[in-house]
Amino acid sequence: MTEMTKLDPKALLADVTEFLWLEADMLDRKAYGDWLDLWLTEGLYILPIGDGEDYENQLNLCYDDDKMRRNRIDRFNRGFSISSAPAADTVRTVSRIVIDSAEGDLIKLRAAEHLIEDKFGRQRIWAADLQYTLRVTGDGFKIERKIAKLLNSDGMLNSFSYLF
């Protein structure tokens, strides 16, 4: 894959698009075990608040390392969390994918995510700017960092029983 990415930007875009769509499908189907496998152990999953980028030293909606990611998924799955039993259903699209850089085995890209949730007979709509740092491995792409910045991240939100 590494060789191909150097040679053919269009093929790279097709590859990362396929990856992002598979991930989006996993999240809508709540196939969280598969989703965890997309990550590098040192990966960080962050939903920031506002425009600051010093995520470690600011308050975020979530700042998940491997342990917190696994705890979060465990909480979704075990059935003791009333907000996730059942969780809201979601349908999302990921598009407007832009590859910012592809050097060696490191790819940085951005994308748009639109998500609609449904619970209690009401629907809510969310939009997020996604930023990914992907590593090319022998086992396909792995996520090193994913930042999902909600359009109104510093505004009035609702509680989420799913992932972006």
Binding site: L47, I49, E56, N57, Q58, L59, N60, L61, C62, Y63, M68, N71, R72, D74, R75, R78, F80, S81, I82, S83, S84, F120, D154, G155, M156, L157, N158, S159, F160, S161
Partner: protein, 427 residues
């Protein structure tokens, strides 16, 4: 029911003190909601800000007093002002920046300019208002503003008692204890989580001193704690804590009495979950006493205190409620840290806050779910009361009011009695 006798005229039917029963309309009646905004939120002290949110001369934040959007600002002398965010000319908001720093507020529509104290300073082309136009009569609508322990409150009511009298001695004492989580540094707001819940504001008012829900609603949070920390949160089993009515609708839930006063815990061994943190802080050259103090501060004190009507001190954060409509309430969870304290300690506080609080925390979404379920549940069986009588059976007199079991609904009864007092037309 006739038009001239709205159902809320019968306050005893809305809240039955003796049997501690709340009528379903309390969460459902839009007319009652409007009445509450007038009689409670326009009359009493309402929390608007923490001083660290606008620390400098000219810094401001937007806030809310009931349904009224307000600006809280520090003038050039450092004095705090609070005024309704509305130009006296044609009503446009003069500020839409949530937080910032300025030397004045200027209306974007026709350019009326206001000083940091809300006084009208400049009117473009004033000639057409005539010679007798009095600028001093056209300042922004001001609220009375007073602070205690860095907490800023405002009121529309010129006749309201002084803030400290409204809070009362016990609330003031606990506020001082709560602020010890600055660990020797000033307490600073590090950020906030905001989420809206389709519920009446009183559903939230009831929750901060409700220990009964904790092991049920927050089981999935407890499951992610280590054994020692889980033990710290096992206040229902240990049965050493209490809930107490602190007067004027305020209440305290002491979950971990051993952590009432952090300064009294300085001889305790450092909790295993924070040993790594203590080591990091030691490396930065802090004395062993400071290390202990800071680590204790990171864990926070052992109580929740609810102030009527809109703010609470919840272990290690402020919870603020803003009523929006009879069935809609906005919640803010403000993360606190040590201003000038070790960055690693503040980072740890932030991660702990994210763990439980906010739209993606392991706690708040479950709270939001059950609060919404209360609002949904009240659509049926309107004639059934909501029970807040738990723990009446073994209440004893406390310092200011009754004190009950840690899972007692004493705090809710305190809040509803204050609600009733304020809603009473004759009072």
């Amino acid at each position: 029911m006739s038009l001239d006798t709205p159902k809320f005229s019968d306050l005893d039917a809305l809240y039955d003190v003796e049997n501690a029963k709340v009528a379903t309309e309390m969460y459902e009646d839009p007319t009652l909601f409007q009445e509450e905004m007038e009689r409670i939120f326009k009359k009493t002290w309402v929390w608007v800000a923490h001083e660290s949110e606008f620390p400098d001369k000219g810094s401001f934040k937007l806030s809310q007093v009931g349904l009224d959007p307000v600006i809280v600002v520090r003038d050039r002398k450092g004095k705090i002002h609070c005024m309704v965010n509305r130009c006296r000319h044609r009503a446009a908001t003069v500020c839409e920046v949530k937080k910032g720093k300025t030397s004045s507020f200027q209306c974007p529509y026709h350019g009326w300019g206001y000083g940091l104290d809300g006084s009208l300073r400049a009117v473009p082309y004033p000639e057409q208002y005539g010679d007798d136009f009095d600028k001093s009569q056209h300042g922004m609508l001001k609220l009375r503003t007073e602070s205690h322990e860095g907490m800023v409150f405002a009121t529309f009511n010129e006749d309201a008692e002084p803030l400290v009298d409204f809070l009362g001695p016990e609330v003031c004492r606990y506020m001082t204890l709560f602020m010890k989580q600055g660990g020797g540094f000033p307490v600073k707001v590090l950020g906030e989580h905001q989420f809206s819940v389709p519920m009446n504001w009183k559903v939230q008012l009831e929750n901060t001193t409700d220990a009964y829900h904790f092991p049920i609603v927050h089981k999935s949070f407890m499951q992610t704690l280590d054994e020692k920390t889980e033990d710290l949160f096992a206040f229902m089993e240990k049965n050493e804590g209490w809930v107490e009515d602190l007067g004027n609708g305020h209440s305290i839930m002491m979950m971990m009495p051993e952590r009432e006063d952090l300064d009294a815990c300085l001889d305790d061994p450092i909790e295993p979950r924070f040993e790594w943190l203590a080591e990091e802080i030691r490396k930065e050259g802090y004395s062993e006493e400071q290390v202990k103090k800071i680590v204790l501060a990171v864990g926070g004190p052992g109580f929740n205190m609810n102030l009527f009507p809109n703010v609470s001190f919840s272990l290690s954060f402020f919870r603020v409620l803003t009523p929006v409509a009879v069935d809609k309430t906005e919640i803010r969870h403000m993360a606190l840290g040590m201003d000038g304290g070790p960055a690693i300690a503040n980072r740890t506080r932030l991660r702990l806050h994210e763990h439980f609080q906010g739209p993606m925390g392991f706690g708040s979404p479950d709270d939001a779910e059950v609060w919404e379920r209360v609002q949904r549940g009240t659509r049926g069986g309107e004639e059934l009361p909501i029970l807040v009588n738990r723990g009446i059976v073994d209440e004893e007199p406390g310092v200011m009011g009754p004190r009950g079991h840690v899972s007692s609904e004493t705090g809710m009864r305190a809040a509803y009695q204050m609600w009733k007092r304020m809603m009473d037309k004759e009072a």
